[in-house]
Symmetry: none
Subunit: 214 residues, 4 copies
């Protein structure tokens, strides 16, 4: 138990990270204590700090690794999809957005934390390293799109995914205006109702149409 392989170490780190992720699905960053993460991971508080230097590092890790995985998966799917028309691409991207919102909502929530909260105390080196890896994957993805659709330049392809997250992230922020703490506000506020999924997809759809041409 005392000498761990790199793999075993990664597993424990992943255990802690996944616990934090689960908790972040239900609570906000400031309502999640290291103590609670440790307990729910069945690990001592000190152990958490053996794997992450600060609390912020845990969540920065979730953000960076989570997005890397998401974009890698997207790249894979794209490669297998063998799209030929921009309509197919649009359709693919909308499905991809659905996946992002339905299965990776925490990523989108983490975006809001990154600048104002996480960067302040996350390790500069690790963050930059992770950010660069992420940039690479992002570029690969964009490059692949450009290769498949030469009319879409790499820069534009990159932006597509940034806007994708932006839209979803923004709609989370504007959701639930017709309720307070999950409880519906009495009276009619129907026009404040937002469906994160539907509205994201509609907005992104319009964006893609505008960007890629009718």
């Amino acid at each position: 138990m005392n000498i761990k392989t790199a793999d075993e170490k990664q597993q424990k780190q992943a255990l802690i990270a996944e616990t934090a992720l689960k908790m972040f699905e239900e609570n906000d960053f400031y309502d999640i204590s290291i103590n609670a993460i440790a307990q729910r991971s069945h690990v001592a508080k000190g152990t958490v700090f053996n794997y992450f230097k600060t609390k912020e590092n845990i969540f920065m890790h979730l953000l960076l690794v989570g997005y890397q995985e998401f974009f890698l998966q997207t790249l894979n799917q794209l490669q297998q999809a063998k799209l030929t028309t921009t309509d197919e691409l649009k359709s693919f991207l909308l499905t991809n957005t659905k996946d992002l919102i339905e299965n990776h909502l925490t990523l989108i929530k983490l975006n809001a934390l990154r600048g104002p909260v996480l960067e302040g105390k996350a390790s500069r080196e690790e963050t930059i390293e992770g950010r660069k890896k992420l940039y690479e994957v992002h570029e690969q993805l964009a490059q692949f799109i450009h290769d498949s659709f030469p009319s879409i330049d790499v820069k534009t392809a990159n932006k597509i995914f940034i806007i994708q997250s932006s839209i979803a992230s923004g709609l989370i922020n504007l959701s639930n205006l017709d309720s307070f703490n999950q409880e519906p506000i009495p009276g009619n506020m129907d026009d404040f109702k937002v469906s994160i999924l539907n509205d994201s997809m509609e907005t992104f759809d319009f964006y893609l149409t505008g960007l890629l041409g009718k």
Copy 2:
């Protein structure tokens, strides 16, 4: 003197709120202490609590009142603009978005706080009351658009403004990916660069085009 008129009371409340707003332009919610707000308002800490039951109430107030004012102003401008074509409307809305981003960025930042942070401790009653007032203004604005452009139904008009804020709010979250704590990350990360203003306007432009028809 120790019995204040309703007006005097409102003035002091406004003073505190404005101070908090100024501070929120420069710092994040969790980096702004009640103490600091009190000091910068030249008021005692206890006085702050005489006007706002909790810290979260202050910022919920800023959000609600700020948006009310913004939408009222928008309504005014709209009434004076006497638009006739949807192109003019689009143009108006884009200019309005520019105003929102350039002069009311705090509103957009506050959106990200609302659900996860503010609602937890903000007064339910006051929030609901404010939310209803806001809804009313929002509806008036939407109604006016509908009246001017019967093809745009009220629900759609409402949504326009929600998407407007969503897009800007989301782009804030995705900005500065090419730097860490304001310092640029060495190496090329150009494709991560985001211009909150330009990209918001472009995205909103495409959205409006899609929504309102070519």
Copy 3:
């Protein structure tokens, strides 16, 4: 209770400081917790931090203020003593040393903490301010000696008090070599025995003789 005069505030600060001093008579810096200081002062933990920004500030305060008082008292006594011969001066200084050791041992112990421990986290500004005040008093004392004994220049007079503390401080460090945690070590270790008081006085006596001439 809510608006304290400067005087009342100083009293509470003094209360906390004195509690810390008492505890420092019995325990080492690292064995004294803020919690314990608060409890023994019948005050909440937070209150301690209302009066001292850091734990180190408390003890730096004790050191600076303690020495200021000691030197002021020494100056007073000196003024009243109206010494005329250097033998009288020597005698006075030895009695003064006795007082320092018997009634202000904590000051001497605090000297050992200052550089390596306190300066790291004590407020730079407050410390420098206190240090300057102390320097002033020290200079006054030295000046008075010089005025009374023109053959002793001010620099030399200053050094007298620095050596006085050094000797006492050093002898504390070398004391109790014949015991371990207060319990005597079995067997004869008589030649390791040190009397802080007697040996300080003897050493200081020899020092003064050497310095001031036979």
Copy 4:
């Protein structure tokens, strides 16, 4: 290989001890972690604890063994010096003090830790054993002086070395009063300036003169 000879064991213990000594030259006890000692020794953390029961034991060991070596060396030098007059003795002792301060400052710093910090958690048995060995060497040294200078009794000879360390130790504590965290305090504080070496030697010189007679 996993059964080490006594000599091999001592070598590893010495390696760890020497590393700790080096680190203590640059940092304070509380700023040196077992982790850091282990790393700089190229040894695992657990290994450190195989050789020293507690952190305090390491430094107590440094103190005891360091002084033993210093006094043995002093004894050797004394035996070779073949002094005949007390003036020569004084001169020898001052040179010896210079050596202590210039090459063994850590010993003097360790004195300040011994009572308040180390004894609390150092092994009683090992400390007492080391202290007795030290006492023996100390006595030999004193005895040799007495044999060479019958007018100096053994007790007095012993005390000479205790005062030697006391003076140096005390002056360390009172040094750097004219700076804060290595940075000079602005303004004139010349009379607070201390030269550990010069002032130790002067003080010790006067002490010896007083003790041994003019």
